[in-house]
């Protein structure tokens, strides 16, 4: 879809066809994913694992991007920035919708402990990584952001549980996996905002003062709160129909994405703040809005995966492989131990339903969205971080069946 902006601005005939082919491929794949056959395939346990991880869309992005057929080039990327910001704001909204007060209050303490352990471990890894890289790389305003992007690979995990063969009502394991994944997503978004606030000081960024970033962040959050409340008032006052809900939703998302872009903020943070406000507003109009927001999730996931593939250009493959190996090793060896320590005796119960090592192995898809937003905003070494996340995600999917088999054959602790 991003390629359309170029077509609209009047390229040559050949450019037109390049763009048409790129759009046809993306829309074709997205359309195929909406067919009944595709839905049936996705319900299959093994295929859910492979298709749900988005590797087809990432491969598609690489194929049509600057590293492949160059149907989408640097100029298209440049022009597609507003659309990318829009998609990321929407993803932020979906993440924020999870922050309903009643839901948060019902989260068991084990989940909070797990999140705390996970965040602390990730922060330690990120700090060590940043100090090591800082000694090695001289002038790099993008360094804190690249490290934050890579840190996303260490934090949280994929909320997808279907590939473990679980059915609904299958105990507390599913709740634990999904609640922790959701909260880790929020923590990751907050980490990006934190890096944004910290970066001007630690890297001496002459372009952005800390005061500017703080004022911008405050205004961005206020805008998120204001637009969500405004949307509620408007939707209560006018007749509540699908087209009106869509206008308000698109307007709010576009406005917030533009505000984030103009104030140099993470669209995910602003989106999440707005989503959290919507989730905590009462009334049927807000529930309609929530449904409309959530409906776009599969399409947005496809967009992020394709965007990841397209942005994987000009990366340092060696470093990406090293970071990816570190992510996989952490997820395979360190994280299960951390989770067991956090859960205490409850770990054995969850392990019986889902092998914890399998849960911790797979990276959260949101990490890719966060990395894409950082690449679009700051570039530099962040592209290598994105590549590391994509490699680690692929490795997680490949290693999962063997990990789960091994976990089943292990003697109980």
């Amino acid at each position: 879809m991003s390629a359309l902006l170029v077509a609209a601005s009047g390229p040559s005939f050949t450019d037109h066809w390049r763009v048409i082919i790129a759009v046809a491929i993306v829309v074709g794949v997205a359309t195929l994913s909406l067919t009944h056959t595709s839905s049936r395939i996705r319900r299959h346990r093994a295929l859910a694992l492979f298709l749900g991880s988005g590797w087809i869309a990432i491969a598609l992005g690489v194929a049509i991007g600057p590293s492949g057929l160059r149907l989408i080039d640097a100029r298209t990327l440049m022009d597609a920035r507003p659309l990318a910001m829009l998609a990321l704001t929407w993803i932020g909204l979906i993440v924020g919708l999870q922050l309903r007060r009643a839901v948060i209050a019902a989260i068991p303490s084990a989940v909070w402990r797990t999140i705390a352990f996970d965040v602390l471990a990730t922060m330690a890894i990120a700090t060590v990584g940043w100090l090591a890289l800082r000694a090695w790389i001289d002038d790099a305003r993008w360094l804190p952001f690249a490290v934050t992007a890579a840190a996303g690979g260490f934090l949280g995990w994929s909320p997808e549980t279907r590939s473990f063969g679980l059915r609904s009502g299958n105990g507390s394991a599913r709740t634990f996996v999904q609640a922790t994944a959701g909260l880790a997503g929020v923590a990751l978004i907050l980490a990006v905002a934190f890096a944004d606030l910290l970066a001007p000081t630690i890297e001496g960024d002459g372009l952005r003062s800390q005061g500017f970033v703080a004022a911008g962040t405050a205004l961005g959050l206020l805008a998120a709160l204001g637009t969500a409340l405004g949307a509620r008032v408007l939707l209560v006052r006018v007749q509540r129909h699908q087209p009106e809900t869509l206008v308000v939703l698109l307007g709010v998302i576009a406005l917030l994405s533009g505000v984030a872009d103009r104030l140099d903020l993470s669209p995910l943070l602003i989106g999440a703040a707005c989503g959290a406000t919507i989730a905590n507003c009462h009334g049927p109009s807000m529930r309609d809005l929530e449904t409309t927001i959530a409906r776009a999730e599969p399409a947005l996931a496809t967009v992020v995966f394709v965007m990841t593939g397209v942005l994987l250009h000009g990366t340092h493959v060696g470093i990406a492989l090293v970071v990816a190996a570190a992510i996989v090793a952490h997820r395979l060896l360190v994280k299960p131990a951390l989770v067991r320590a956090a859960l205490g005796p409850a770990a054995a119960e969850i392990d019986r339903e889902i092998p914890l090592r399998g849960v911790t192995l797979r990276e959260a898809p949101l990490a890719l969205a966060v990395a894409c937003s950082i690449v679009l905003e700051h570039g530099g070494g962040s592209t290598t971080s994105l590549a590391a996340l994509a490699i680690a995600a692929a490795a997680g999917v490949i290693l999962l069946p063997a990990t789960v088999r091994a976990a089943h054959t292990e003697p109980a602790p």
Binding site: A7, I20, M78, V233, G251, L255, D261, L263
Partner: protein, 457 residues
């Protein structure tokens, strides 16, 4: 009253937010690039402009609607007031009075939505054209179309020719060019706006003889105009010895390929979509948006008329595979509102008030003559076509609005004759007349529908 106050307050908050962001954000340099991918400064914050267009346009539309006017007028007025031209003409000549929230560079980026809007409007119009309806109104539609076209051409062309000694740019050109220019402006004034007609019909959920007649005539006029303007441009090129090859053969060939190509490609798309819709029944929005952009891109690449392509696609789908297309067109209807808000607000923002101010007397006279001609021509055609008394009386209101199609034709005319000094002046006059009709057209058409008691919403 409470409803209006809420809308006004919401609009005030929106404006406040736009101002606050401008205050806090560091100013961008006027030219250059930023970011890792050398992002063009023109695209920074486009989302904010889009959001302002959507929310601001929609709120103003709702406000205007509460006074009994079409929402469409609200979108247009929003675009005009907050667009880039009003601050310029209200300024002191050296600097605009205020900086617009809808900068031209951002609006240019959002032209993409216009293409989607045209495709969706055409698909909707095509879907409304049931074969049974066409059979029912064919005679009346043909009579109104031809009578209206002839009246506008004769009256506007005749008026311009008679007053040509006093009207710029006609007073400065030779007799051949003068005659051609009168006929050309007369022909371009025949066009009306399918987008406005469809949008007003959708908004009011109108059903009845006037709605049926309007749809059929608008589409018939579109076909007629493609033939007429292609022929006109070819004749003009030959008479005025414009550089380049433009033989009669090439003009005919151009008309044939344009018409048949558009209809053929549209029919093929309609058939393909019906096939696709057998397998997909969920989340049709993605398919619809993809199809809309597909129509726009393909039409641009193959030099076809996107309106005709969409019309043919919608017509084929709805008449040959009605079962499969029902949920699809419901989805198109849901998407029409946001797309229309952006399209018409952007159209309003592109009304160059500076040009309108310069030629307003000429523009007002031409618009007045056109209005009279449309009234006479459409009423006579409706009488000849055997239309019932009430819709016959109000049929003319549907053919007053002008917008995108008219502007595109005017632009094509200007680019063809750019080597002549009068082309640019004539273009300014045309744009000014179109702007007047754009503003007065939608409320008039709504009035016509209301008087015929066809409004359902």
């Amino acid at each position: 009253m409470k409803h209006r106050i809420t809308l006004i307050l919401a609009f005030a908050v929106l404006l406040g937010l736009m101002y606050a962001v401008r205050l806090v954000a560091t100013p961008l340099p006027q030219i250059g690039v930023v970011g890792p991918y050398d992002t063009d400064l023109a695209v920074i914050g486009v989302g904010r402009t889009l959001g302002f267009l959507l929310l601001g346009g929609w709120i103003l539309g709702e406000l205007v609607r509460s006074f009994g006017l079409p929402r469409l007028s609200g979108y247009l007025v929003f675009g005009i007031v907050f667009g880039p031209y009003l601050p310029e003409i209200l300024g002191d000549g050296t600097a605009p009075l205020w900086t617009t929230f809808l900068p031209s560079a951002h609006l240019e980026q959002l032209r993409l939505v216009d293409q989607l809007a045209i495709a969706l409007i055409a698909l909707t119009a095509g879907s409304e054209l049931q074969l049974s309806l066409l059979k029912r109104v064919a005679r009346a539609a043909l009579a109104v179309c031809l009578s209206d076209a002839f009246a506008v051409l004769a009256c506007v062309g005749g008026f311009l020719f008679l007053a040509s000694d006093h009207l710029p740019p006609l007073d400065t050109v030779g007799p051949e060019a003068r005659l051609f220019l009168c006929i050309a402006i007369g022909t371009l004034m025949i066009s009306n706006s399918p987008a406005v007609v469809i949008a007003v019909l959708k908004e009011t959920k109108a059903r009845g003889p006037l709605q049926e007649l309007t749809l059929a005539v608008t589409i018939a006029k579109d076909l007629l105009l493609i033939v007429a303007t292609t022929a006109l441009l070819a004749i003009g090129v030959a008479i005025l010895s414009v550089e380049g090859d433009a033989s009669a053969d090439s003009a005919i060939w151009s008309v044939v390929t344009h018409l048949l190509g558009s209809i053929g490609v549209g029919a093929a798309i309609g058939a393909a979509m019906s096939l696709v819709l057998r397998f997909i029944t969920i989340r049709l929005e993605l398919v619809i948006v993809g199809l809309g952009f597909g129509i726009a891109l393909l039409s641009s690449a193959l030099h076809l008329a996107p309106l005709l392509v969409g019309l043919a696609a919608g017509f084929v789908q709805t008449n040959l595979w009605p079962g499969e297309s029902k949920s699809f067109f419901r989805g198109v209807g849901d998407l029409m509102l946001p797309v229309s808000v952006v399209f018409f607000a952007n159209t309003g923002a592109s009304v160059d008030l500076g040009k309108l101010v310069v030629v307003w007397t000429t523009a007002l006279m031409i618009a007045g003559v056109r209005l009279a001609a449309v009234y006479g021509g459409a009423s006579l055609g409706a009488r000849l076509g055997g239309v019932e008394p009430q819709p016959r009386r109000w049929a003319w209101t549907a053919f007053v609005p002008q917008a995108g199609v008219s502007l595109a034709l005017a632009r094509e005319f200007e680019s063809t004759f750019r080597s002549f000094g009068w082309a640019a002046q004539a273009y300014v006059v045309l744009v000014a007349v179109i702007a007047i009709n754009e503003i007065i057209g939608p409320p008039l058409f709504r009035l016509g529908l209301a008087r015929c008691r066809e409004i359902r919403a």
